[in-house]
């Protein structure tokens, strides 16, 4: 009651900065929309009503549906097994179940393909992507299981329901938002996935757009496909947004102080231990083995320390610049959203949120064209690539910085003001020190995400600039598996901190994961 923002005027420079960030975030969507309009309905029809589009749509949708279902089943089963049973070594299993997140999907694809060339097509893509992404369901389900009040289950139990029936009628319905949210996240990642699917030779819209780009640069066909892809993504994003609204009501109480009584597995213990072991072996063991093998092969032939160092340096410089720019861009957006609620703030924040639906391929394509049409000077500069990173990872920075600013309630500003501080001194002595940790965390997350970004980097990195991801990509797509291995290893190493951070985060969200 005392901290309403009513009566505070929104400073114009802040609004302008926020609007500018929102505008940047909307460039890709605006590009796709305006280009599609420019193509005109007749030509658009010709570009879309052709067998290739039907084939890509079939591939994309069937793979998404299959992977979302499979990750949902696998994620829930593993979460229940680890969280709610007396499986030996549950803590260790939890770490292992999340570990696949540290292997970017395209590195996982490389690991499988280089080990066994028969892993390709729908089956290969389905298998590899499912193994890469099931933690996106597993993590939120685990978090939800930990939050559920065991009293509910105990009530059902005491009312005469068996444990199995209690699970089905009491626990499962409560897991629904977590499962759906996780599966939708898998869907969004899958729609954006380029590297893994390209290596596994399963064409989807994303890989097809890249092929078109490589052949026709900025042709209408690529944009028409991008339009379809963005629509698919927006459908998932809207579903996620709606679910998020529901979820707020679904969450009751502040969670359980005591855990649920673990289900004794009895004789099932050993077979289920085997299942968990098999999942880990496939999801972590195989990539680790493959990578290790190629590392030995690669290092025995040559170990290009210079090139490795140069790629690492370029990656670090780009990721640093991207992290700083993205985090700074998030500040006005968050400030408006938290401190100056209103129509303008909402529009600005939503604009940055839309980037969650934009695959790297679309952002890359959009910035290539937008820069060439509007400001050719920036084309082929690192600045443009950094702008792409900012668009892609702004949602992640916004969420993190927002959490920080919410920890700095406006009443502290009031207090500081009453103690004689002007607005600038208040920002310096109160607000900034308070949000500094979240700025740091946001920047770190963005840094890690950029380090393993492949698609937009491939399209936008200035000629001559090589990052870990592009060097890995050029080696692995030329089948120089040994040469790709050191880059793959570095990519995994930079993904580990992000994975640990995600493991600690409780709630699922649409922020992008590594790759």
């Amino acid at each position: 009651m005392a901290t309403t923002t009513t009566g505070r005027r929104t400073p114009l420079p802040l609004l302008a900065a926020g609007a500018l960030v929102a505008l940047l975030a909307l460039v890709p969507l605006g590009y796709v929309a305006s280009y599609v309009v420019a193509i005109g309905p007749v030509d658009l029809w010709h570009l879309l009503a052709r067998p290739r589009i039907a084939e890509l749509l079939r591939n994309t949708v069937s793979l998404a549906a299959a992977c979302m279902s499979a990750t949902a089943v696998l994620g829930v089963a593993l979460a229940v097994l680890v969280e709610r049973t007396d499986l030996p070594g549950r803590r260790l299993w939890h770490g292992l179940m999340v570990a696949p997140l540290a292997v970017p999907a395209f590195v996982n694809g490389y690991a499988w393909v280089s080990l066994d060339r028969s892993v390709h097509g729908f089956a290969g893509a389905f298998g590899v992507v499912t193994l890469s992404y099931y933690p996106l369901v597993y993590l939120p389900v685990v978090a939800m299981l930990r939050r559920l009040d065991p009293a509910l289950e105990e009530s059902a139990w005491s009312l005469g329901h068996s444990r199995a029936r209690t699970f089905r009628t009491v626990v499962l319905p409560q897991l629904r938002p977590a499962v759906l949210g996780g599966a939708l996240l898998v869907g969004l990642h899958l729609l954006a996935e380029f590297g893994a699917l390209s290596l596994l030779r399963f064409p989807t819209f994303t890989t097809a757009i890249y092929d078109q780009y490589g052949s026709t640069f900025n042709g209408a066909a690529a944009t028409a496909m991008a339009g379809v892809l963005v629509l698919l993504c927006l459908v998932l994003l809207l579903a996620e947004l709606r679910l998020r609204g529901d979820r707020r009501y679904a969450r009751l109480g502040r969670g359980a102080a005591r855990g649920a009584v673990p289900l004794p597995l009895g004789t099932w213990r050993w077979p289920l231990l085997g299942v968990a072991g098999a999942v880990v072996a496939l999801a972590v063991g195989v990539p680790a083995f493959s990578l290790g093998r190629w590392l030995v092969v690669g290092t025995s032939t040559e170990f290009p320390l210079d090139e490795l160092g140069a790629a690492l340096a370029a990656t670090v410089v780009l990721a640093l610049a991207g992290a700083v720019v993205t985090t700074l861009a998030a500040v006005p957006v968050v400030w408006l959203a938290v401190r100056h609620r209103g129509l303008a703030s909402t529009v600005i924040e939503r604009s940055t949120y839309v980037a969650n639906a934009l695959p790297g391929i679309v952002v890359g394509l959009a910035l290539v064209v937008a820069s060439l049409r509007l400001v050719p000077l920036v084309y082929q500069t690192a600045g443009l690539l950094v702008a792409a990173y900012a668009i892609l990872f702004l949602p992640r920075a916004v969420v993190t910085v927002r959490a920080g600013l919410e920890q700095a309630p406006v009443v502290l500003d009031d207090v500081a003001q009453s103690l004689g501080l002007g607005p600038l001194a208040t920002a310096r002595r109160v607000t900034l020190p308070l949000i500094a940790p979240s700025l740091g965390a946001g920047a770190a997350l963005v840094f890690l995400a950029i380090s393993t970004e492949l698609t937009a980097t491939l399209m936008l990195s200035p000629i001559g600039t090589r990052t870990l991801a592009t060097e890995f990509w050029s080696a692995s797509s030329e089948l120089r598996y040994g040469a790709a291995a050191p880059y793959a290893l570095l990519l995994v190493l930079v993904s580990i901190p992000a994975t640990v951070l995600l493991m600690r985060m409780d709630t699922p969200s649409t922020e992008r994961l590594p790759a």
């Binding site: 505008l23 590009y31 026709t216 600045g383």
Partner: protein, 342 residues
């Protein structure tokens, strides 16, 4: 000029982003000195990494090499227009040269620069010159096939009997150069029909290395690629070529098409003399012989250079007569899009 508000807004946002990020641009792309010659290279980077030091040593000039891919670099040069820092453009295949040529960005080469190259590999206006050639071939798996099982023409791969048995990489500039030759030789309808047949029959992979691998492993019986991939693998260790062999269509078949790697000087070049010196050197006997002896195993176009005798001799290839300057990239990608390959 009227500007729509949306466009103006987009302009502002991108400009701002650019201004905001110019600092990082400096660190990101590396601060270059002022070289004597800037080469945009879309030929294999490894090859130019071997060649350029030889030229630098001989000429005393400092060369900056920026490597990329055919279409990407061609389009970038077009976009950069008069401001392009490029002095020389090298490609793997000639359609990319045509893109720059059609934009009128090449300067006419001096006669000395093309003197050693047979005239059919130089456009009549000397806007650029070929300096290497690569021969189209079919590879076949020697466990499941014999040479006799191979078709007479590359066009036959569109026949139903090849369903699921032939691999190719439609997204690469190599294959698209082959298609441009088919288009030049057979016309639009036949080319579209051929592409549609290939789409039905073919196993699509991401590049020619995977074509070779898929043939050698027996995943498919045959594949369409250039010859040098196979020769290089044989020269290296044969891991991906030991169970396969090359099949040359010859006989002026489109499948015997020789694709030409081009070299040209940008009209906007501020180092025209150095650029001319480089191209003259590139087509001269010393550089051509160096390329012939390199790992590349592509065909040098200077007849005085002698290639590894393991490689099928240049004069036995019987390629079709195609005007290198006429190969049309955009029409090829349109046809491939229509056939559902893109």
């Amino acid at each position: 000029m009227t500007t729509s508000p949306r466009r103006a807004a987009a302009r502002v946002s991108v400009t701002l982003a650019a201004a905001l990020l110019s600092a990082s641009a400096l660190s990101g792309c590396g601060v270059f000195g002022s070289p004597d010659l800037v080469i945009y290279n879309a030929q294999h980077e490894q090859l130019l990494d071997e060649l350029v030091p030889l030229f630098e040593e001989e000429s005393g000039l400092e060369v900056e090499l920026r490597s990329g891919k055919d279409l990407e670099m061609a389009n970038q040069i077009v976009e950069e227009g008069q401001d392009s820092p490029a002095d020389v453009f090298l490609t793997e295949n000639s359609p990319a040269m045509s893109i720059v040529d059609n934009a009128g960005l090449f300067a006419e080469l001096p006669e000395t620069a093309t003197a050693t190259i047979p005239e059919q590999y130089v456009p009549s206006d000397r806007s650029w010159t070929g300096f290497l050639a690569r021969s189209t071939v079919a590879m076949y798996n020697t466990d499941s096939m014999t040479e006799a099982d191979m078709p007479a023409s590359i066009l036959d791969f569109a026949d139903p009997e090849w369903k699921g048995r032939v691999s190719f990489s439609p997204t690469g500039a190599d294959f698209q150069a082959i298609v441009s030759a088919v288009l030049a030789l057979e016309g639009e309808d036949a080319t579209l029909a051929w592409l549609e047949g290939l789409k039905d029959n073919g196993v699509i992979v991401q590049n020619n290395l995977v074509v070779m691998q898929s043939v050698n492993s027996g995943e498919v019986d045959a594949g369409i690629a250039y010859s040098y991939y196979w020769y290089r693998d044989r020269a290296e260790n044969g891991n991906d070529s030991d169970s396969s062999d090359l099949y040359f269509f010859g006989n002026q078949d489109p499948g015997a098409f020789l694709s030409v790697s081009g070299a040209g000087i940008l009209a906007s070049s501020e180092h025209a003399a150095a650029a001319e010196e480089f191209i003259t050197w590139l087509t001269g006997t010393e550089a051509q012989q160096a390329m012939a002896e390199s790992y590349a195993l592509e065909y040098p176009l200077n007849p005085d250079a002698n290639l590894n005798p393991e490689v099928k001799p240049f004069d036995e290839l019987e390629p079709p007569q195609v005007d290198v300057a006429s190969l049309n990239g955009p029409q090829v990608t349109d046809l491939m899009t229509a056939a559902g390959l893109l």
